[in-house]
């Protein structure tokens, strides 16, 4: 169960880290170089997208689309996209086989690989912190299931680092 949930969680996390749908345009382009923060959040362990909020050099809400197989992601904003590649997360994971509670706290790095629209030519890199709190489902025998999707899933990823917009 742990392995399965963990895989699902990491997959969702990766999706969160990399994807994004356009909700609004960047609100500020006053600076071309500076620190950019991305926060991704989801309550689904199986969804392929989640919400992302970018702030710093530019501020925009978006949707995060993750390609778990390639460790890549794309943030889709209303006025362009930002693509990145990230490392696998490393850190602590714990799973309680009695309560089915899963906790994952991992960190890693990412590199922006390109952008489109208002973000064409963007470059940058940074570090991310992944935090997952989930409760695994139980099977018919009352044991924590290793195949069912978690009954509750909270995931927050905070990524931050320098970016340059040409």
């Amino acid at each position: 169960m742990r392995k399965i949930i963990t895989s699902a969680a990491i997959a969702a996390a990766a999706v969160a880290l990399l994807g994004g749908t356009g909700i609004a345009a960047a609100s500020s382009h006053s600076a071309t170089t500076g620190t950019e923060n991305f926060q991704m959040m989801t309550t689904s362990a199986t969804a392929s997208t989640d919400s992302v909020i970018a702030s710093g050099v530019f501020t925009a809400p978006g949707v995060d689309h993750e390609n778990n197989n390639a460790n890549t992601a794309k943030f889709v904003f209303s006025n362009g996209t930002v693509s990145l590649k990230h490392s696998n997360g490393t850190g602590k994971q714990s799973f309680n086989p009695k309560t089915c509670l899963l906790t994952i706290n991992e960190h890693g790095t990412y590199t922006l690989t390109g952008g489109t629209g208002s973000y064409a030519g963007i470059t940058g890199n940074g570090k991310y912190q992944l935090n997952i709190l989930a409760i695994g489902a139980r099977n018919s025998a009352g044991k924590c299931s290793q195949t069912k999707a978690p009954v509750a899933f909270h995931q927050v990823i905070n990524a931050s680092g320098p970016v340059t917009l040409p």
């Binding site: 909700i23 609004a24 909020i53």
Partner: protein
């Protein structure tokens, strides 16, 4: 532990994090750290609106305290 709805967006502090005091039915006060990150919508004049629902809102509340199971 309800967070700010779209209707209460105007009351959300600009700070990304704050402490919120919640009154439970037992009248005990428990301190709940609440973390908010959001992007407000803009009005027709291009100003950040405090009356429109935010374009994005990430809210995390972590609650902790003693309980008694009967």
């Amino acid at each position: 532990m309800g967070g700010p709805s779209a209707g209460s967006w105007a009351g959300v502090p600009r700070a990304a994090a704050q402490d919120r005091v919640v009154n439970f039915r037992s009248f005990e006060y428990v301190r709940l750290p609440m973390y908010i990150l959001g992007i407000a919508a803009r009005n027709s004049a291009g100003k950040c609106s405090q009356s429109k629902p935010p374009l994005a809102l990430h809210l995390v509340i972590n609650g902790s305290g003693p309980v008694t199971m009967p």
